[in-house]
């Protein structure tokens, strides 16, 4: 390969990488598998997989929960800087407690990039239905990528729960 071609290829690669970071980031894109030992207990599930795809301002997040023969998935597409309404069939926050998605069965999620695209911030508003009625709840999520890009830490602060929920994922 002539030297000029090699130089142009390298330059293109650098440019694409820079654009990717600037767009706010493709670095979260990919498949992520939960590290059960590293965060808050995930029972009753034994596995959680995240599938993240960033396409310009669109952020696609898929979550798959499984245990034994049971597998169930949820996915939605967000738009950075905007609030979107997402239909929710069931609330995955805590399957041990008698709390279910209520109201109009939708979450209103606002998303923002932070830390030069290494952190995705979500603020989600929804209604939980319990045996006594319905309660508005807010969940603040941070999807934080490690500096080496190998670990994704997802922190949830839920207005109904004193204790934060921390899940650590490894790139699949």
């Amino acid at each position: 390969m002539p030297a000029i071609s090699r130089f142009l290829s390298c330059a293109l690669l650098v440019l694409l990488s820079a654009l990717s970071l600037k767009a706010g980031s493709g670095d979260l894109s990919g498949s992520w598998a939960i590290d059960r030992e590293a965060g808050t207990a995930i029972d009753p599930w034994s596995r959680i997989l995240l599938e993240i795809r960033v396409d310009g301002k669109n952020i696609h997040i898929g979550r798959t929960f499984s245990t034994g023969r049971r597998t169930t998935s949820q996915e939605y597409t967000l738009q950075a800087g905007k609030t979107v309404e997402v239909p929710v069939q069931w609330w995955p926050g805590n399957r041990h407690i008698g709390a279910y998605i209520g109201g109009d069965r939708k979450e209103r999620i606002h998303s923002e990039w932070a830390d030069d695209g290494r952190t995705l911030l979500l603020d989600s508003h929804y209604i939980l239905s319990t045996s006594q009625g319905e309660t508005p709840v807010r969940s603040h999520f941070e999807y934080r990528l490690s500096r080496d890009g190998s670990t994704l830490t997802v922190i949830e602060l839920r207005s109904s729960r004193n204790k934060p929920v921390v899940h650590v994922f490894r790139r699949g």
Binding site: A41, T72, R161
Partner: protein, 543 residues
């Protein structure tokens, strides 16, 4: 021939057997280790369990003590109970050869299963029951022949290369007509290289058909045969054992069993039932439950959080013998069919209960069933039987569970209005109903009798701090007082651990007995009535 003291003792035991009524009840006992691999431990244990089924046809003679890790935890406690309350005098047998030497003459012969085909052992259990034989693999033939037993059937090579559907079809053609229509054994549970056939003695004792057929639509051939055998059993008869972990789900098999108006009784590992079933209640025994309120009593709650705790999954596989029982009020779901399957177990639990132990009926009826798949015309005779058993056992609360449209992970475990109507009509004397397994959301109140679903499922592996946070979250999300928070405690969770979790709540909550809890909930119901709704998630256990 030189006789050791052990041999002399055994000979004396045999001589004394006819004198049982005078000098206590002689029986034999062996302790099992924890090896349950098909190539290590199972061959000899299968032989012994089949021997147990055969010899116990003439009365309760052979009993096994299972290791601490066994799902059914109370074999040592029951041994002591048999000694103390029934006058059994156990002579311990050291090994399989000795058991055969002492008791083998009660068998008509042996049936050989094929070491290369796991399912052949399950078929061999069927043959053992029909022929009064013990089961052996080829390695154990010399041991059987050493005590004079002859081969009655050889399954080696018969099933190689065949699917389970084909094997069980052959077994059906050969043996089904001679098998019991009142009991069928699902020898499922552990799959692959492991088998835990603790229940096989009872199937042999009753001459049952054994299988681990699938209820999974992904196995259409097996499912078709499953439907066939279930449809040919007597109405309201019992399916004993458990589904195969390698083939289908608990929800799939139990939904199917319920749709054929049959009753499920677990587990495949349930031990010594051929012994238990022949030991009746003692003459001085009376059922008594530790009621804390009268049926028509009213209890006014304060403005606080009330918690009540229930352990389901039947008593014997749970925390009954673990430390802490009696420390806090606890409700225990009784398998009501044990009144005839294992009456001595019921007596043991009743007599060892503390004032804080309260028994309730379940699950869903006279056995483990799901109400939604039960055809309505079959619901009424089944629940009539459940009422009879509850009356006999002095039980005033019925627990309902339905995994036909989901489980504690996905779908729902709720009841539609029609099913709730049926329960209120079928059980006019209960003080309340419980619903769910994991959390559920069916709530009702009629004639001061509430139906309350679990608001919390305390899993085995839930860390204490997370469990405390879960309960606090529920308390936040349910702000009216009183708040009635019903907790299902997973079977093996110790009461000491539960108490530690509750202590983490401080003064926020008070733990009360279940009957008091129901009475207070009836007095001031802060829950909203709710039934299964069309928009609720469903994750079918197809059947």
């Amino acid at each position: 021939m030189r006789l050791s003291m052990k041999h002399i003792s055994l000979l004396l035991s045999l001589i004394l057997l006819p004198l049982a009524a005078i000098a206590g009840k002689p029986a034999f006992l062996m302790e099992f280790d924890n090896r349950w691999d098909l190539s290590d431990g199972v061959p000899e244990k299968a032989l012994l369990i089949s021997l147990q089924g055969v010899v116990n046809k003439d009365g309760p003679e052979l009993y096994f003590v299972y290791p601490p890790s066994w799902p059914w935890k109370i074999t040592p406690a029951m041994r002591d109970f048999f000694t103390a309350r029934h006058g059994f005098e156990f002579t311990e047998l050291d090994d399989t050869a000795e058991a055969l030497e002492v008791l083998g003459d009660q068998a008509s012969g042996y049936v050989v299963w094929d070491k290369e085909v796991r399912t052949s052992l399950i078929v061999a259990f069927t043959v053992a029951g029909l022929e009064n034989a013990v089961v052996v693999n080829e390695d154990l033939i010399p041991m059987a022949e050493a005590v004079g037993l002859k081969m009655v059937e050889d399954l080696r090579g018969d099933f190689r290369g065949m699917t389970d559907a084909e094997i069980y079809r052959d077994a059906y053609d050969l043996y089904w007509d001679r098998c019991s229509r009142d009991i069928i054994i699902w020898m499922g549970g552990a799959a692959g290289k492991r088998m835990e056939p603790g229940l096989a003695d009872y199937g042999i004792y009753r001459g049952a058909f054994f299988c681990d057929l699938s209820a999974n639509p992904d196995d259409p051939e097996e499912l078709a045969l499953t439907r066939k055998v279930l449809s040919e059993q007597n109405p309201q008869s019992v399916v004993m054992g458990w589904h195969s972990y390698g083939k289908d789900t608990e929800g799939q098999l139990t939904s199917l069993v319920s749709s054929y108006r049959l009753k499920m009784e677990g587990l495949n590992s349930l031990p010594n039932i051929s012994f238990h079933t022949q030991v009746p209640f003692t003459d001085d025994f009376r059922f008594r439950n530790h009621h804390n309120v009268k049926p028509d009593e009213r209890v006014v709650p304060e403005a606080k959080v009330y918690i009540s705790l229930i352990q389901t999954d039947s008593i014997g596989i749970g925390a009954w013998t673990k430390p802490g029982r009696g420390r806090i009020p606890y409700a225990w779901q009784v398998s009501m069919n044990w009144t005839w399957i294992a009456p001595c177990s019921i007596q043991y639990f009743t007599e060892s209960a503390t004032p804080n132990d309260y028994f309730i009926g379940g699950l869903s009826g006279p056995g483990y069933m799901y109400p939604k798949p039960i055809p309505e015309e079959d619901f009424w005779p089944l629940m009539k039987e459940a009422n009879r058993l509850m009356d006999l056992l002095d039980l005033r609360v019925m627990e309902i569970m339905d995994y036909s449209e989901g489980n504690r992970h996905v779908g729902n475990t709720d009841l539609d209005r029609d099913v709730v109507d049926r329960y209120y009509k079928a059980f006019p004397d209960v003080i309340g109903f419980i619903n769910g397994y994991g959390s559920a959301r069916t709530f009702d109140l009629r004639d001061n009798r509430p139906m309350i679903s679990y608001d919390y499922y305390l899993g085995l592996r839930r860390p204490v701090d997370e469990a405390v946070a879960d309960l606090r979250e529920l308390i936040y999300l349910n702000p009216e007082r009183p708040y009635f928070l019903l907790v299902h405690v997973r079977e093996s969770t110790t009461i000491d651990r539960v108490a530690e979790i509750l202590e983490g709540l401080g003064d926020e909550a008070e733990v009360v007995p279940l009957d008091v809890f129901l009475k207070m909930a009836a007095e001031k119901p802060t829950f909203r009535k709710r039934y299964l709704q069309p928009e609720d998630p469903k994750d079918f256990n197809p059947y």
